[in-house]
Subunit: 444 residues, 2 copies
């Protein structure tokens, strides 16, 4: 082989370990990921790299694990600015006396931009390369997202109730679709329709949501069965459970993401399974708000795609999907009284390929495979809290924390390295956060 | 006031916020902790410091929270060397095919020294200043503990079954008491009697344990009611539940620490409450091993002192009691469906003053008060993941992670500062961990 056969590529990452997620349950040792532009073009043994590829950016990661970029499948990013404002409150007080009045007073396009930017910084540092967003003023969120270099699926938020942002179902929808027109050519942004919840969106609006989802080929992102109360209310108003109502309207489909799904009976499980919908499990939020325990073992038994979301920082209070994945695994083991349940490979799939599948991006992200976008998260395992190590994948799931995240690539670009973000000025973000802190404190 | 009235002290820590735990539910702003030798001698407003005290070591912590040093109320420190060796295994396989054979093959005085040293490094970095230890070869553990500068209560491990360390109840007891004689003059080490569990220790040995505990004024540290199986077995063998048996033997007292206590009926709760015993809650371990959910709300309703332990790294896999405290809080809110339960101040007490109380050290550690030992943990809250901040104590409990720990003082000495340990060589520890990794891997 002559030098002329050597291909010049953008980036080569030679890692001690790679957990590519596909093929299933694989850990590669001493392999390299070859990246050209935004794509993974090859995954080969490191000893073969020099004879095939050359680059100006070769990362030698001698005690690191590379995984697909983590996917946070549900959040309200801008709520980072409300983090810790209203902890330890009963749900009714939290919503009626804290969150909703706060939102009414403070949520503006600037608030959403600033809060989203701060959340993007936190998420990148936490190894998250893609997030699934739902909040007011999605156009403002999109500006922060573009700035940060992260990948996002932005929900076009819809409900019937008026807010600073829009007046009614129709108005939310129109504003959302208009916003989408401005980001639809962005490489890193996709869109969902995001009706808030069955109890806050009418049949009429849901029909419109479905029409647009079908016309524009968009996923639908919705809070579903978070509490027992919403099921009772639906039975009283519609004489059926929320999921049954959604299913009759045609909303439940492979494009449907049912966030929370804490309370599912046998019919609900059957519906989600039959329609190949995805469930977004947000365990920290469900516990912190006292909603309860989603039965992940039952979902998996029904073959339902389960992924993990942090939810917004007002109910978590961390944009750290690795932590939520770990919590999900612990809860499944505890609830089933079987420590073998939700094993490490299953947990890792939930925050990678399962998230990608829910977002309709399974062909593009969620695993380290040839042809996929180079969205990668690297964990430096040379720490006193991660040594010794016997099984890299298991250690990633049970011993590692976001503090071990050392590098993050999104779409082939290095966005985070050892404490430093490429596209976001952390110092400026902290100043912005402190300015909002000062403003919001006047509200207390 | 003249200069002659200014007292020279060892260390002054001027912090933006202090959560002293006592008085209850207090957050001091712009206060300073005055340390002389090993003790806290004063807590005053920072503006008054210059006129009263001078020091060569003045720490200005402008965006930090100082708490009492965290107390990890149950662990098997040396098991850090088994971390991640046997994840995702059913309990029976985990014990019989992994942990016990591993212990039989590998646990030696060197193993215990090395594993304990690594765990001490991890614990100090995690803000832990005191831990409650139970494992084989306590004398070897004590050597690592002395080296590390951490405070510990070492259990004199006792069971009937033979191990590399001892042959039977009598032998364990004698070896433990002999080991204690060698560390009893150490300022930072106290001792417990640590009978493993009701099912592994006979009445005869428990009677001896009680005699020594009374004679030597030692606490008793024991696994109790971790699984349903051990209760069934006790009913079959003794025609009573384990706690009833222990109570009849006189073991349950204010000096008794019941680790786990996952399965407690009304009589068990009444016994623990009446005898003023403490419960050590290890939520990660209970979930990871599929044991179940301890009912902390019921314990609190009965006025029982609850503190938090990580358990050993083979069933956690982190020596991070802050994380276990957060998990405990989430679980209590989820189980009671009440987000107001186990609020921030209660959680913080569990890992500070409650731990101190369980260890019989309430007069010396567990809060930031005049006259107590200067065991302090500092959290740097100037991070993108902890901004904005509205309530420091709540942020500490819900938003902070051990990565925010910036300084740790034990007994007046700075043992950890911004990634660096004073008394432990982290590089050497990592090498030791890698050597054991190599050895143990030959076993797979």
């Amino acid at each position: 082989m002559t030098a002329s056969h050597i291909q010049h590529v953008s980036t080569i990452i030679s890692a001690k370990w790679i957990c590519p997620v596909r093929p299933i349950n694989t850990t590669l040792e001493d392999h390299s990921i070859i990246i050209d532009q935004d794509r993974i073009v090859d995954i080969i043994e490191t000893k073969n790299v020099a004879s095939l590829y050359e680059t100006d950016q070769h990362y030698q990661l001698h005690h690191h694990i590379v995984t697909p970029g983590l996917i946070n499948a549900h959040t309200h990013a801008a709520m980072n600015l409300f983090r810790g404002f209203a902890d330890d409150q009963p749900l009714h007080t939290w919503l009626n006396e804290s969150i909703w009045p706060l939102e009414k007073k403070w949520v503006t396009p600037d608030f959403v931009h600033d809060g989203t930017l701060i959340a993007c910084a936190e998420m990148l540092k936490s190894g998250i390369t893609t997030f699934n967003e739902m909040y007011f003023y999605p156009e403002s969120a999109s500006r922060a997202i573009k700035q940060s270099g992260i990948r996002a699926n932005i929900g076009l938020f819809v409900m019937e109730y008026p807010s600073n942002y829009a007046n009614d179902g129709e108005d939310y929808l129109m504003k959302g679709l208009e916003a989408r027109d401005r980001w639809r050519d962005e490489a890193l942004i996709t869109s969902s329709l995001a009706p808030h919840a069955p109890y806050s969106v009418s049949d009429k609006t849901l029909n419109q949501v479905l029409t647009y989802a079908n016309q524009l080929n968009l996923t639908i992102h919705m809070h579903v069965h978070e509490t027992e109360e919403e099921i009772k209310a639906s039975l009283a108003e519609y004489q059926m459970r929320p999921l049954e109502r959604l299913n009759r309207l045609g909303i439940v489909s492979p494009q449907f993401m049912a966030v929370h799904s804490v309370y599912l009976n046998h019919e609900d499980l059957t519906t989600l399974s039959k329609e190949s919908a995805s469930v977004i499990h947000c365990p920290t939020s469900n516990l912190k708000l006292g909603s309860g325990f989603a039965d992940i073992a039952a979902l998996q038994k029904h073959g339902i795609n389960v992924c993990i979301g942090t939810d917004g920082s007002a109910s978590n209070n961390k944009q750290d999907v690795l932590h939520d994945m770990q919590l999900a695994s612990l809860l499944t083991k505890g609830l089933t009284k079987n420590p073998a349940m939700q094993d490490a490979k299953t947990s890792l799939e939930m925050v990678t390929i399962n998230g990608a599948k829910a977002l309709g991006l399974e062909d593009h992200i969620g695993s380290i495979e040839k042809g996929k976008y180079a969205d990668l998260t690297v964990f430096d395992m040379d720490h006193i809290s991660t040594l010794p190590m016997f099984d890299p994948m298991s250690h990633l799931v049970y011993a590692a924390s976001r503090e071990e995240v050392s590098h993050v690539w999104v779409n082939g670009l290095l966005q985070y390295e050892e404490g430093h973000l490429t596209s976001i000025d952390i110092k400026a973000c902290k100043d912005i956060a402190l300015r909002w802190q000062l403003k919001l404190k006047q509200n207390i």
